[in-house]
Subunit: 252 residues, 4 copies
Amino acid sequence: MLSLVTHRLTGYVNPCVGSSVARFCTSRARMAKSKFEYVRIFETDDTCLRNCYIVVRLDGRNFHKFAEQHKFAKPNDDRALGLMTRSARSVMEELEDIVLAYGQSDEFSFVFKRTSNWFKRRASKLMTHVASQFSSSYVFYWKDHFGEEPLLYPPGFDGRVVLYPSNRNLRDYVSWRQADCHINNLYNTVFWTLVQRGGLTTVQAEESLKPYILMGQLERETGKERESERGGCAGNDLSQICTQPPCIRHQP
Amino acid sequence: MLSLVTHRLTGYVNPCVGSSVARFCTSRARMAKSKFEYVRIFETDDTCLRNCYIVVRLDGRNFHKFAEQHKFAKPNDDRALGLMTRSARSVMEELEDIVLAYGQSDEFSFVFKRTSNWFKRRASKLMTHVASQFSSSYVFYWKDHFGEEPLLYPPGFDGRVVLYPSNRNLRDYVSWRQADCHINNLYNTVFWTLVQRGGLTTVQAEESLKPYILMGQLERETGKERESERGGCAGNDLSQICTQPPCIRHQP
Amino acid sequence: MLSLVTHRLTGYVNPCVGSSVARFCTSRARMAKSKFEYVRIFETDDTCLRNCYIVVRLDGRNFHKFAEQHKFAKPNDDRALGLMTRSARSVMEELEDIVLAYGQSDEFSFVFKRTSNWFKRRASKLMTHVASQFSSSYVFYWKDHFGEEPLLYPPGFDGRVVLYPSNRNLRDYVSWRQADCHINNLYNTVFWTLVQRGGLTTVQAEESLKPYILMGQLERETGKERESERGGCAGNDLSQICTQPPCIRHQP
Amino acid sequence: MLSLVTHRLTGYVNPCVGSSVARFCTSRARMAKSKFEYVRIFETDDTCLRNCYIVVRLDGRNFHKFAEQHKFAKPNDDRALGLMTRSARSVMEELEDIVLAYGQSDEFSFVFKRTSNWFKRRASKLMTHVASQFSSSYVFYWKDHFGEEPLLYPPGFDGRVVLYPSNRNLRDYVSWRQADCHINNLYNTVFWTLVQRGGLTTVQAEESLKPYILMGQLERETGKERESERGGCAGNDLSQICTQPPCIRHQP
């Protein structure tokens, strides 16, 4: 249980104000400040290495539960994706030097340009600004996307910073998130189709999909991946969803 | 200007789905994922040193302007302070191992217990979770404190992590923020009294307070601080405000 | 194979000197320097957290092989231990703020005082200075300890920095290294006694000691450690060696 | 003053050995070790960002004094430069993945290849290994270069790690050190010529060179650098020295 503490912390001098004593008190507080100010040197420098792309990736906290409580449609909820995109746009509008944003599900990545010197490239400043702006925007724009569906509580997102020294590394990062997006979407779509149209329980659906997962792993482990590439593929509606997650960039 | 990019990023294989080819595509995406997954090793470890207090301090972004646009009362706005406190409480309720929160104006400090192992003490996780939860709560609870006054845009807060190895260091940190709070409150109260009741312009008020600032500095520099401590002080209503900023802690 | 490159690196302007052109060349080199000097900003700050003990631990590189090649006596070589101690003393004499040094076998730990501000507490400066001074001293004082036994090649030591925020943590660190020392000495002494006096081969000796190692592990895992503590112990000559590794500290 | 401490540190259990009690003591020490081993988690990860060049630069400690005490010739001492080069070669022979070494005066830079995974790219391992190997080699090979001139005490070198993400950055780093080398050599050569052949005192020589330094600065500040580039230059013996500092690389 939390309690609001309204009395002074131990050891703090009695503050005061008044026409004749104001000067004393001010200098007294100043003195106190100068006496304690040494604690600033405990702050450490976390400057990002120059000439690297700075990527900040956000992830929703407990969004599995959040999605259930807010009745997100399965496998994909357009309102939720729209709100994520709107929040990401808010981040790009408010913060500087972000050249690309890419998202899926409850995660979003923001790429700062290599030469950015925003907040002197301090990692903590960059990632907390992104996490904060995204989160406040998510609540602020909720109504625009969910209408009468009420937001039950303020959601949370965590963030991290990753540096990429080359164009190739950055492209592979985005490809990695994109492949991840595709796999998740494919699995979820098939899973929910089995449940919603096939009449299976969630346990049965999970069970019936296991061979495919194992097979994929097997193929990877035995180096048979190449073979499967030969298989022809036909795009369909799903591909429109799973390969077109929100990706925002500044117009040239 | 931002544009929503809905086509695939260059270099990404054409995804697909269908009863007969699902297996191929899954393993293909998996393959792609495993091929790109090396980018994960670019993530660095930012574990906070054990047996140290972890402090996360948030600061409002451009809150001078934010306060003006939302007509905050001067020198202190009870609604704004109440909302800050409410948001801080939300952080303490949702996140683990925070033992103390202390705030003033547009900043708030959160102290994690020394032994906390929440998110394996990863600095990025801790600071972004705090910044995110605080920001979404600020918007979520706005109406409870500001009523019909509309929130014009989603606000931002940045955060940082500082480690303190000893009880003494931590106490001095809180004392430092408290002395800072007192100085700012004292100055602001006198400043706005001169403007609101004394009929001075803001420029005149600033001008008339300069000697006190300089005197304080002078005293500090010449080592005369001790003398001013002898001056007796009488608390008044202001002291109730400036020495009682919101401080929340868990009940023992 | 290595080759000495004596020609200029590509892209470097032709340097020169002479009474009439010296000025041009100087400013030209200066210009070049100012043009390239931006690379300095890639250096990062690695300041050690204040108010923590800074421990630098060195470890010999491939010392198993080094010991064999230089015919170290088994299980302990007095000459080698003496040289390690002499090198550690050199480190303590030359570098500042080291309050304790503790070593065993081919490793040595150096403890800097909590308040040290030597080289602004930059971790890289501290650990490289210790590693360098120790290594040059090891070669410099070799003859004093090994006499006519020649040093075949320059040995290497690696180092690391670890921070400890409390007295308790530091004491436990030293206890950890001391327990490690005891275990290693005990094992080595018994092992070499079996070989040198018992006539066993090294393989046989290793084999015959396995049960004790396993038993120790078993006890630890089943929580039976307490029982074994009841056993009375009698010190002997070995204890003089294994519990008295070189430990140097500044006289109060 | 230093003293060798040969008694046990407080709090350490009495160690022992003997045919019947060996088992007890071993498990006891093991227990102690497992009890204290938690201190290992205070070690932090300092992995260098992947796909970046890792540069370790060494600098001699108090080499101005060292040079005087060992009667180094002015402005350049061939024996000293030869020993530096020999030590750098030793580093390249013993350690892995170093592709380039470049030195001047009492400093030497070592460049690890971008893809190196030596010691898992741990910065502390890399820089201490380089500092250690260089230092022990410097003493080891002293006699080969200085003959009968005795080495008075073991010298020290500090080191640091800098990361460069691109080929361009790395080339500019080497150019920066090279320009620095040229400036220093030019100044030192002229300075010592004025002293040794011109009969000036060191103070007079310094005084007479000031205008050139100021002029260089002036030119840089006023952007007149371009003009000075037009001046023709003629190489001479000096250029052989100052532009050909030891640069070692692996043969392709």
